[in-house]
């Protein structure tokens, strides 16, 4: 190389520049010795792969999972979730009382809870935040999370103007009382969602109207939060840095000095960053790398069940799919075990119902698996019964999915299974995300790919999307009895057992009607550096950042 450079130099005056440039770049390149994770561990700085650039850090506007991760480091709700069991744990409130009719909650705030600017966190901060969350012009897509509260929905719809009629009451600066319209077992879980975090009114109003979307209050230097960390730096598309909040009531227990979130939307690149020691934690693991980590570096691979269902929607308004027998035949011709084990290969569970198993103790009806399990003969019989012997006259059926590799894999595999077991032709149509959403909403499809990730751990969250007038139903399927179970009988349930029984009846009706084709239950998968202590995967894939710490581990011997 050097020799060639010299001869160029003789020939061309720019050769000198060339040499200098290349040499400079090379020298600069070769000098970097220490891995970023190592210096990070030493300094208590956690390098965290976080999938994408957050749209916003306003807890009532941001609605993506990556945003939620950052927000949970910055804020704290009244009640938190235990990082393993997801049971309610004290957070902004040190304790609370629930009335006998389970409709009134009284929260006692910590007297030592402070905003990141040192001011005390008061009950009014919660009340005002919830008022803001219920203003439609803010465009908060999670406002529905407040609807269990008395009159919250009516206020949001504009049916009442007076917020004092909504069931949130400030008893004294450290006591907040909430009245629900009916007993809601999962209400404590909702308090950990960004939409219900307290907000610092003065700092928001300093930067414009309280309900302005385009406000800059949530930018570095402006943002005031009450969590274990505070926003230190936000470089667009590069990094977001949060630093330990010295005013946090439990600051002594927070081990990390900083967390740096990287927008790693390309998982292939992210995995290479992890392998090259640039990240402590990866948001995802490319499917093709699973085998390598599972066999060579199992300690760094964390795969856990995730509260999400992957399914297909049947458009029941289409004549060829209007017959439930056809839908059932299609559902029974899919070998889910082969799909999850051979194609997806990331520990996903075959699903035979809408709700993931063990959703806060709830299990889908026991007969679900037997009803939908892989049985080509039964599927063919059903199809013949419906008037399509050997698939004749049915199809081609189009599967619509949004452009993404994993969805394509599933669709291709299912396409082949239907052809093989039912002699039904399927065509594949992929559309870019927004186009796909538009098509699905207009009902201009036969079968679409879909998924639902639980907001909180409760089966109702999975079943309510199938209500007749739910915007998320989109299949044209409507069962008044299902609606009645969910809307009228369920709220009146007096015990957990009765509640689960009602949910099971509702889910059974859903599986009888079958507007959906359950496929699998999600898993979350991450690469976690050995130095990272205190991390445990949970069903909501939600880490508790204040519990994490970095401790140098002796390098493992490579096998």
């Amino acid at each position: 190389m050097a020799c060639k450079m010299l001869s160029i130099r003789k020939l061309n005056s720019s050769g000198a520049l060339c040499c200098a440039l290349l040499a400079a770049l090379l020298v600069a390149g070769c000098s970097g010795g220490e891995r970023r994770v190592d210096s990070g561990t030493a300094a208590g700085v956690l390098h965290w792969g976080n999938a994408s650039e957050p749209a916003s850090l306003d807890p009532q506007i941001a609605n993506g999972v990556p945003e939620q991760k950052i927000l949970s480091a910055l804020w704290e709700g009244l009640v938190g979730k235990h990082p393993v069991t997801l049971e309610p744990i004290p957070a902004g409130a040190s304790h609370w009382q629930i009335s006998d009719d389970r409709r009134t909650y009284r929260f006692h705030l910590r007297s030592d809870a402070r905003w990141s600017n040192g001011e005390p966190v008061t009950a009014e901060d919660y009340r005002w935040a919830w008022w803001r969350a219920l203003q439609p012009e803010l465009g908060n897509s999670f406002a529905t999370m407040l609807f269990p509260i008395v009159n919250a929905q009516a206020y949001w719809r504009g049916e009442i103007d007076d917020f004092s009629q909504v069931g949130v009451r400030v008893v004294d600066p450290l006591t907040l009382e909430v009245e629900l319209s009916h007993p809601t077992g999962y209400f404590l879980q909702l308090l950990d969602m960004p939409t219900l975090y307290p907000l610092h009114r003065a700092s928001i109003e300093r930067h414009g109207a309280a309900t302005a979307r385009a406000s800059r209050w949530s930018y570095p230097g402006n943002l005031v939060s009450n969590g274990p960390f505070q926003l230190a730096e936000w470089q667009i598309n590069r990094r977001i840095v949060v630093a330990k909040n010295p005013h946090y009531w439990d600051a002594a227990a927070v081990a990390l000095n900083q967390i740096i979130f990287y927008p790693t939307e390309n998982t292939t690149t992210e995995e290479r960053m992890f392998r090259a020691g640039q990240l402590h934690y990866s948001y995802d693991v490319p499917v093709n790398k699973m085998a390598y980590y599972a066999s060579q570096r199992p300690a760094e691979l964390v795969v856990a069940p995730y509260l999400g269902s992957y399914f297909y929607r049947f458009n029941t308004r289409r004549p060829e799919l209007a017959d439930p027998r056809v839908r059932r035949a299609l559902a029974r011709a899919i070998d889910r075990r082969q799909l999850t084990e051979q194609v997806l290969r990331a520990g996903q569970l075959p699903a035979y119902a809408m709700t993931p198993p063990n959703t806060a103790g709830y299990y889908p009806p026991a007969s679900a698996e037997a009803q939908l399990s892989f049985d080509p003969a039964a599927a063919r019989a059903l199809l013949a019964e419906a008037g399509y012997p050997d698939g004749a006259g049915l199809g081609p059926i189009e599967i619509l999915y949004n452009t993404q590799d994993e969805h394509r894999k599933v669709a291709v595999a299912i396409q082949q299974m239907w052809k093989q077991h039912l002699n039904v032709d399927a065509t594949l149509q992929n559309q870019e995300w927004k186009v796909y959403l538009d098509t699905e909403r207009r009902g201009d499809y036969q079968i679409t790919r879909a998924s639902w990730i639980g907001d909180y751990v409760d089966a109702r969250n999975f079943l309510e999307i199938w209500l007749c007038d739910s915007d998320n139903n989109r299949t044209g399927w409507c069962d008044p009895q299902f609606d009645q179970l969910l809307l009228e009988q369920l709220p009146a349930a007096t015990s957990q057992a009765e509640r689960h029984r009602l949910l099971q009846s509702a889910e059974q009706r859903l599986l009888d009607g079958l507007p959906l084709l359950p496929i699998y239950t999600y898993t979350s998968k991450h690469l976690v550096h050995p130095d990272l202590n205190g991390y445990t995967a949970n069903l909501l894939n939600q880490p508790l950042f204040k519990q994490l710490s970095l401790v140098r581990q002796p390098p493992a011997l490579t096998p």
Partner: protein
């Protein structure tokens, strides 16, 4: 003599690749989309000469079918570019004067358009229709062709034999089609052979962004892009598609180069 052989080698290879792709349905024992999920990705073997992809599909088959698509995109888009570019350039060059000035100004202006960006936008917005892909790429590539043809036509129009043809009473159409265009054939052919590879690369680029052809169809660009993701686990999935694309592009470039050298050589007198 030796030069003729080297001249023909890329051309022969090109013909072989094109023929193999064209005859794919008869050459390959596997349907292109047939999966064997249980087989998964396997390295090259006797049954699957180039191995299989993660769905257990035969890579050689996919490569041949992918080649059809890639070549089709390359040829069709180039044909679109050729059609627009040659007519535009010929008219501007032959008529000359104000019309020429206006037409070439339009070309200059369009040069400054961020076409690739428009193509990206169109692919996002209107889905990945192949037809659109052809037209969009063709619409990007015709500008240079128009410039080349126009320059060539300007040079020929003023030559003596065109004057002679004009005196003999040939119509404009006859002069353009019989005398001028055939004399421009050289540069046109050369540029065409160089356009095809750049079109194929553009298609590969769109595939990388997820905006190329639709699965289960595959172009070489898409196969390469999928191969890149698994290059550590299944290197053959990257190697063979990359080889196919690179070899084809290389041959096209070589053929174009040789053609150009020969044309320029004969024009200048040549010192080769």
């Amino acid at each position: 003599m030796a030069r003729r052989v080297t001249y023909n080698l890329p051309l022969l290879l090109l013909a072989a690749i094109a023929l193999a792709c064209l005859l794919a349905p008869w050459l390959s024992p596997y349907p292109p989309a047939a999966q064997q999920l249980l087989l998964g990705a396997q390295p090259p073997s006797v049954a699957h000469w180039l191995g299989t992809d993660i769905f257990g599909r035969d890579l050689l088959t996919r490569l041949l079918y992918g080649g059809r698509l890639s070549l089709l995109v390359g040829l069709t888009a180039t044909a679109v570019a050729l059609l627009i570019g040659v007519s535009w350039g010929a008219v501007a060059g032959y008529v000359g004067g104000r019309l020429d000035a206006v037409m070439m100004r339009i070309v200059d202006t369009l040069y400054a358009l961020p076409f690739v960006i428009f193509v990206v936008l169109m692919m996002v917005v209107f889905g990945r229709s192949l037809l659109l892909l052809f037209i969009a790429i063709g619409a990007v590539e015709w500008l240079t062709m128009a410039r080349i043809v126009r320059a060539q036509v300007r040079a020929i129009v003023h030559s003596d034999y065109i004057e002679a043809a004009r005196c003999l009473g040939l119509s404009r159409w006859q002069i353009v089609t019989r005398h001028i265009l055939p004399n421009c054939a050289g540069p046109i052919i050369v540029y065409t052979t160089l356009t095809i590879p750049s079109v194929m690369l553009l298609e590969a680029f769109l595939s990388f962004l997820g905006l190329g052809v639709q699965p289960p169809d595959a172009s070489w660009g898409l196969l390469i892009n999928q191969g890149v993701e698994t290059m550590e686990e299944y290197p053959w999935l990257l190697l063979y598609p990359a080889l196919a694309l690179t070899a084809t592009l290389l041959c096209l470039n070589l053929v174009g180069d040789r053609l150009r050298d020969r044309l320029e050589g004969s024009a200048v007198g040549g010192d080769r």
